[in-house]
């Protein structure tokens, strides 16, 4: 950690550095920062706290896989004008597609749990009990989504989550050992332990999260992007994946520099220490505000996204602009996820480990849903000439197999009682 109480010209120098970082990183970084949810932030912070820089190489591999997967999803959306929920229902046997919908529901309900855990942890950092914060957030999120001005609420939450722009700055100002960082980025430094493996699956689950794949395809359809506009969209998809993972890597570096090697992350307060080099004693408050914004944002978007995909797959009404009576299944599913998320987050226990465990759950489900996406993107009957070419197919298959192997290893270790 670098000193933050240094006198003299320190603040001006700090401001210069902040501006320099922002100029280089640009608006993309800010957008990606806003896209990080509670589960992601707490999992990356956990990785930094427990294994310092050793997960960095894994993050590079995960980024490659994320690029491949996000590109396939964007392409499927652009060329078919359909979301993944609809495509899976149309292209796979009914039982398989209902299975996929169920898995998506479980994964997203898990994510919603971690968002409520994030809300609880953030409010506790700001001095409010989670037993008050979580129920209030539940009612607020539900009411705003169904009756209120969702877009305005989304902007407020996004603005709050911009607090995490402080991460890259903190990572640089903490003066980490850049030689170690560079070495861990380019060469594998895996730790032979079950805990490392479980955390690797959590990192995969939170980075290549199923919700993002479904969201990416639907967003392309919503934007009205077709095959003609797709080349530009492909650049966006790849850039988005890279920038978002650069932010994640900065979270790991900042946390590793502050509390690296101190064991599993115990509390949000501990995670907030990572921001101290940038903002000093305001770190817990800033972290709390950022975590609250990120959690609120995702706590509405994640259940909406899964309700949308599942309703699309089943063929029932689905739109936020519909009334509850017109789209009872859509809103019922949305409400169910919110209630389950809030209820689990209220159960006694450590909120940080709950959030990370939910990312492990996502990491176990990810490879199964990736197989569906891979098969769809390989099919010429779905994408015509835009189907995966042999080389891309090989790389994508390797990515899915790698993610699947790690998930399988965790399942086996858990079954043997070693994880």
């Amino acid at each position: 950690m670098s000193g933050i109480t240094a006198p003299g010209d320190r603040p001006r120098r700090r401001l210069k550095r902040v501006l320099a970082v922002l100029a280089v990183a640009g608006p993309g970084l800010i957008a990606a920062n806003a896209g990080n949810d509670a589960g992601g932030i707490l999992t990356y912070a956990s990785a930094g706290a427990q294994f310092a820089y050793r997960t960095l190489f894994l993050m590079v591999l995960v980024t490659v896989a994320l690029i491949v997967v996000q590109e396939m999803c964007a392409r499927l959306g652009a060329y078919t004008h359909k979301g993944l929920g609809g495509l899976i229902r149309e292209q796979f046997p009914l039982r398989a597609s209902v299975g996929a919908m169920l898995l998506l529901f479980v994964a997203n309900a898990g994510l919603t749990v971690s968002e409520f855990a994030g809300i609880g942890a953030a409010m506790e950092l700001l001095g409010v009990s989670r037993y008050i914060a979580v129920p209030v957030a539940l009612v607020l999120l539900w009411a705003v989504t169904i009756f209120g001005n969702y877009t305005r609420a989304e902007r407020v939450a996004m603005a709050l989550s911009l607090a995490f722009v402080a991460y890259p700055i903190a990572a640089i100002m903490a003066h980490p050992d850049w030689r170690t960082v560079a070495a861990d980025l380019v060469a594998p430094h895996f730790v032979r332990s079950a805990a490392f493996l479980v955390l690797a699956v959590a990192l995969i689950g939170t980075t290549i999260t199923p919700y993002m794949q479904f969201y990416a395809a639907s967003a392309v359809v919503d934007k009205g992007i077709g095959p003609k506009e797709y080349p530009a969209e492909r650049v966006d998809a790849v850039n988005g994946a890279i920038v978002s993972d650069v932010v994640s890597i900065f979270i790991i570096i900042a946390t590793a520099a502050a509390i690296g090697g101190t064991g599993p992350l115990q509390s949000a307060h501990q995670a907030a220490l990572a921001l101290e080099p940038a903002v000093g004693s305001a770190a817990p408050t800033l972290f709390g505000v950022g975590l609250l914004g990120a959690s609120l944002l995702a706590a509405a978007v994640v259940p909406l996204s899964s309700s949308y995909a599942i309703a699309e797959g089943l063929g029932v009404e689905r739109s936020v602009s519909d009334s509850f009576r017109r789209a009872p299944f859509f809103f019922g599913l949305f409400t169910l996820q919110l209630v389950v998320g809030a209820a689990v987050a209220l159960a006694p226990g450590n909120l940080v480990s709950l959030a990370v465990n939910m990312q492990v759950l996502n990491g176990l489900i990810t490879p199964v849903l990736l197989v569906f996406i891979l098969v769809l993107a390989n099919r010429r009957s779905v994408l015509g000439d835009a189907a995966n070419r042999p080389l891309f197919r090989a790389v994508a298959t390797l990515c899915v197999a790698g993610v699947g192997a790690l998930a399988l290893a965790v399942v086996v270790l858990t079954a043997l009682g070693k994880a």
Partner: protein, 239 residues
């Protein structure tokens, strides 16, 4: 994957103004067959020997009839997929297909005039012009008529879909109020490379849209793919 698509899969099926088949129009007669129930059913030849299972049923939608006739089946055998013409089928029962003779292999190839019911229609989305309903095809209903086996209805009930998840032995009950008359299906709109072929169907849809109230039109537009939405919006706002 080797596709047995006989034509580009339709993006969506678009219905003309609602005409649901009531109980009177679609009695629960013995002559009705469920396509979803037939898919996967065993195929036997004249000697009773098991030769494969049903993969799909074929119709020719533009045959000038209100209800198109089934023209054949796609059967999966040990040696791959083959098309069985209607003449070679002795009987199509709710749970099996019986052949007149032994199976003669006919290669599956693309035919623009045929539609494969399981591949092209089952589980696809229907956009309702008048109600703005969005449904998926849970099943297709065939009726035995003197002039052959014809496609008469589209079952869109969730209950039918859930029943398909259960074991095959579960009885398949038709629920009349969730079955749409096949003749009310206005158009297939193909996607991708075959998109050009959807223009004619869209023109029909536009003509219908003009008679609709603005609220209904908006609901329908919300459900269309953006590229079609733009075209339809232009058409409906034109004087």
């Amino acid at each position: 994957m080797t596709s047995f698509a006989l034509r580009a899969p339709p993006d969506r099926l678009r219905r003309r103004p609602l005409r649901r088949l009531g109980r009177r129009r679609l009695p629960q007669a013995e002559g009705l067959l469920s396509v979803a129930g037939l898919i996967g059913a065993p195929v036997r030849d004249r000697s009773g020997r098991h030769v494969g299972h049903v993969v799909d049923l074929l119709i020719r939608p533009d045959d000038g009839e209100r209800y198109p006739a089934v023209t054949g089946a796609v059967v999966h055998t040990l040696h791959g997929r083959t098309v069985v013409a209607l003449e070679a089928i002795a009987e199509l029962l709710p749970d099996r297909l019986l052949l007149r003779e032994t199976l003669e292999r006919e290669p599956v190839h693309e035919r623009a005039d045929l539609v494969a019911l399981a591949h092209d229609v089952l589980d696809r989305q229907i956009v309702d012009v008048d109600g703005g309903d969005v449904r998926r095809v849970s099943d297709l209903v065939l009726a035995r008529r003197p002039d052959g086996l014809r496609l008469v209805g589209v079952d869109v009930s969730i209950r039918t879909m859930l029943r398909r998840l259960g074991p095959r032995s579960l009885p398949r009950k038709l629920v009349p109020d969730r079955i749409y008359d096949w003749s009310s299906i206005a158009a297939f709109s193909a996607r991708g490379e075959a998109e050009g072929s959807s223009v004619l169907h869209l023109t029909q849809a536009v003509a219908e849209l003009k008679n609709r109230g603005p609220a209904d039109v908006q609901t329908l537009l919300d459900d269309l793919p953006p590229h079609e939405r733009t075209r339809l919006e232009g058409a409906t706002t034109a004087p």
